[in-house]
């Protein structure tokens, strides 16, 4: 692929609202996880809940899109001047030349859950929730397309926890082929009953704040986030660059990773090949690291075999929780912050690393010159994606 400029990026999650806030939390080791207080009968777990979503209604003209996921998307767009950056790109290139590729797994399903909990005596949805706009997976994609006023591609990628990483790959192809001159890529996922109780039914939810790669880890903490980046052709900006991606399928099981990490390795190798780099060029890897038993073991083994010992690797889910369909974009933003600041996060909440971990996986934050960094996202259905980024001055 042709390297691309990332001309703006932002994230809103439990650990921070906007880049500066998030970087501060990463640096100081303050987790956004808190005891679960979501819903009527909250499970005994910890969640990464974004504060203030309930008090931030959508503008009246978009009221047909009212739901938690779209509110979170709207909140996220306001941070770091991202909305103004997209407006500027639209004015520069025209609405027909700016695309949107949005990753999500939950989309607005929380609104459908709510409708089922408030059925009328006749068994129908309550009147305020009868809009199809919030009962379909493309809800947030359609909402964002309207908010941003874009006439190019506007599509939702929903491949579970790899969704918004794959949005970067899909967006880059639109630029490569000359279909668009700028692409808004991102991920938005929000807390809802389906994911909390669903992951719980698979015995994957931890009763304590998640401890990625810890020998005594006990599962995931679910979070929510909205994260966006603006991709343009190389040279469009002086910021970091998106230089490679790798996508693969496990072809193994719907909810368990391939035992040898076949798909994860394929995705990482392909990202390096596309970026034209050896694994030794990678200074930091933001791992998928959900803190589930299987994922962390398999990912740690793959990283131990593929990367030199001085690569610094970690999962930042101890700060943010696993934000599912938004994780790819959120962790891409964290990876970009690492390239800009030299801060390489450790594994927050973790105390003793699993024996499967090589020296790459670190408990503590580190600092250094971060020129090239990777971000991994692996999802249910065996969908894997690795993204490769470079600092403004590198490669």
């Amino acid at each position: 692929m042709l390297p691309l400029s990332i001309t703006d990026f932002t994230a809103t999650c439990a650990a921070g609202s906007g880049r500066a806030d998030l970087l501060r939390a990463l640096d100081s080791g303050s987790s956004g996880l808190r005891p679960n207080d979501f819903g009527r009968e909250p499970l005994a777990t910890f969640i990464g809940r974004v504060a203030g979503v309930e008090e931030a209604p959508l503008p009246a003209e978009f009221s047909a899109y009212e739901c938690r996921n779209n509110r979170l998307a709207w909140l996220g767009l306001q941070r770091d001047g991202f909305l103004a950056s997209v407006d500027a790109a639209r004015q520069r290139y025209g609405a027909a030349r700016v695309a949107l590729v949005l990753g999500t797994s939950t989309s607005s399903i929380g609104a459908t859950e709510e409708a089922y909990s408030r059925l009328t005596p006749a068994g129908e949805f309550p009147e305020d929730l009868r809009y199809q706009a919030v009962h379909t997976p493309h809800s947030t994609g359609e909402f964002l397309q309207r908010v941003l006023g874009l006439n190019n591609v506007a599509v939702t990628v929903a491949t579970a926890c790899s969704s918004s990483a794959k949005a970067f790959a899909q967006g880059s192809r639109l630029l490569d082929l000359g279909i668009a001159d700028a692409v808004v890529v991102g991920g938005v996922d929000s807390l809802c009953g389906s994911v909390l109780f669903g992951f719980n039914s698979l015995a994957l939810v931890s009763p304590e704040p998640c401890r990625p790669f810890d020998a005594a880890r006990s599962g995931i903490s679910i979070g929510e986030a909205a994260a966006f980046a603006l991709l343009e052709r190389d040279g469009a900006g002086s910021g970091p660059r998106f230089i490679g991606y790798g996508e693969s399928s496990d072809a193994h099981h719907m909810s368990t990773p391939h035992p040898s990490g076949r798909g994860a390795r394929l995705a990482m190798s392909e990202a390096l090949a596309r970026g034209g780099l050896e694994s030794s060029a990678v200074d930091y890897i933001n791992l998928h690291g959900t803190a589930s038993l299987k994922n962390d073991e398999i990912e740690a083994q793959a990283v131990a075999e593929m990367f030199p010992t001085d690569t610094h690797a970690s999962s930042t889910k101890g700060w943010t929780g696993h934000t599912l369909g938004a994780a790819g974009a959120l962790e891409a933003v964290i990876t970009l912050l690492s390239l800009e600041s030299g801060l390489m996060p450790g594994n927050l909440n973790s105390r003793q690393l699993d024996a499967a971990c090589g020296p790459q996986v670190r408990l503590d934050n580190g600092r250094g010159s971060v020129r090239v960094a990777m971000s991994n996202s692996f999802g249910f259905g065996g969908s894997n994606c690795a993204l490769l980024f470079a600092a403004a001055s590198a490669s």
């Binding site: 009968e41 025209g94 027909a96 030349r97 399903i109 459908t112 859950e113 409708a115 089922y116 909990s117 059925l119 068994g123 129908e124 949805f125 009868r130 199809q132 009962h135 379909t136 997976p137 493309h138 994609g141 359609e142 006439n151 190019n152 591609v153 506007a154 599509v155 939702t156 990628v157 929903a158 491949t159 579970a160 899909q170 192809r173 639109l174 490569d176 082929l177 279909i179 009953g193 389906s194 109780f197 669903g198 992951f199 719980n200 039914s201 698979l202 996508e247 693969s248 399928s249 072809a251 193994h252 099981h253 719907m254 798909g263 394929l266 999802g379 249910f380 259905g381 065996g382 969908s383």
Partner: protein, 272 residues
């Protein structure tokens, strides 16, 4: 209206499949859509995709069943190994039956939700089952773009085919809505359409097309013949029909298919 490509892109359709209760498989669907044969009065029963292990065939969600049936038939029509193809799955709603189950369970007994139903509730379930059953480690994606999901999926398929210079499998599907969601999500019947698209002509090519993209207001999609449209009317993937009908008819066609309300695929298709 703006043309997005400097010049139209030439692509080939190297495989095709269609399954709906009154269009059960491409061999018959082609004759029915071309007006040479009458549609069956009795709808065909749900297909049992042979790529799945026998024990899973009956238990598979409807979306998985119909999508895998079309995906395998398209690979066979192209003489291609299912394990060799990157694929694009697209659906407006995903599995509406599982959505109904999940939401009803959340409203009543959330702690008792079935783990299998939960992992089948992801939008990429059909794509996941397909790659597992086919032993395919190539990338897949799972898309949604509202009622324009077919056009958005066809566009992404063409983009991947052009970017990688290879065959890409597209599978577009939707099923009927169930329960309290049905009056709002409004989708009927089972439907899956599949095509294999490549920038290279091959021994099984049945059509070539030149693709241009138009952006702007006032785009109008093509319509299928009313008699054909009636056979799948109300399904959320019904917008696949003008394109599929042109493949059934052969000859030359100009088809307009929306990928969003303000982005259209302008397709000049020629049967081979």
């Amino acid at each position: 209206m703006t043309d997005l490509l400097a010049r139209p892109a030439r692509l080939y359709v190297n495989g095709v499949a269609l399954w709906a209760p009154r269009l059960p498989g491409w061999q018959r669907a082609r004759e029915i859509l071309a007006g040479r044969e009458a549609a069956p009065v009795e709808p065909a029963p749900r297909p049992a995709p042979e790529l799945l292990p026998p024990t899973e065939r009956r238990r598979a969600p409807d979306t998985v069943s119909v999508a895998l049936e079309a995906a395998l038939a398209a690979c066979r029509s192209a003489n291609l190994d299912p394990a060799s193809l990157p694929c694009v799955f697209t659906s407006m709603h995903g599995d509406l039956s599982i959505t109904d189950y999940m939401c009803a369970t959340m409203a009543s007994t959330p702690a008792l939700v079935s783990p299998t139903k939960f992992h089948n509730s992801v939008h990429n379930a059909a794509a996941g089952y397909w790659t597992i059953a086919a032993g395919c480690t190539r990338p897949y994606t799972a898309l949604s773009a509202g009622e324009h999901s077919f056009g958005a999926g066809l566009l992404e398929t063409c983009v991947q085919a052009l970017a990688g210079g290879e065959n890409i499998l597209l599978v577009a599907y939707d099923i009927d809505a169930r329960g309290p969601l049905a009056p709002v999500a409004r989708s009927k019947h089972l439907l899956a359409a599949a095509v294999i698209v490549s920038p290279q002509r091959g021994p099984t090519s049945i059509a070539q097309f030149d693709l241009q993209l138009n952006a702007g207001a006032g785009l109008v999609p093509s319509y299928a013949r009313p008699r054909n449209a009636e056979l799948i009317a109300g399904n959320s993937t019904e917008s696949c029909l003008p394109f599929m009908e042109s493949l059934a008819l052969g000859g030359s066609h100009e088809i307009h298919c929306l990928a969003t309300p303000t982005l259209g695929l302008a397709i000049k298709l020629q049967g081979l």
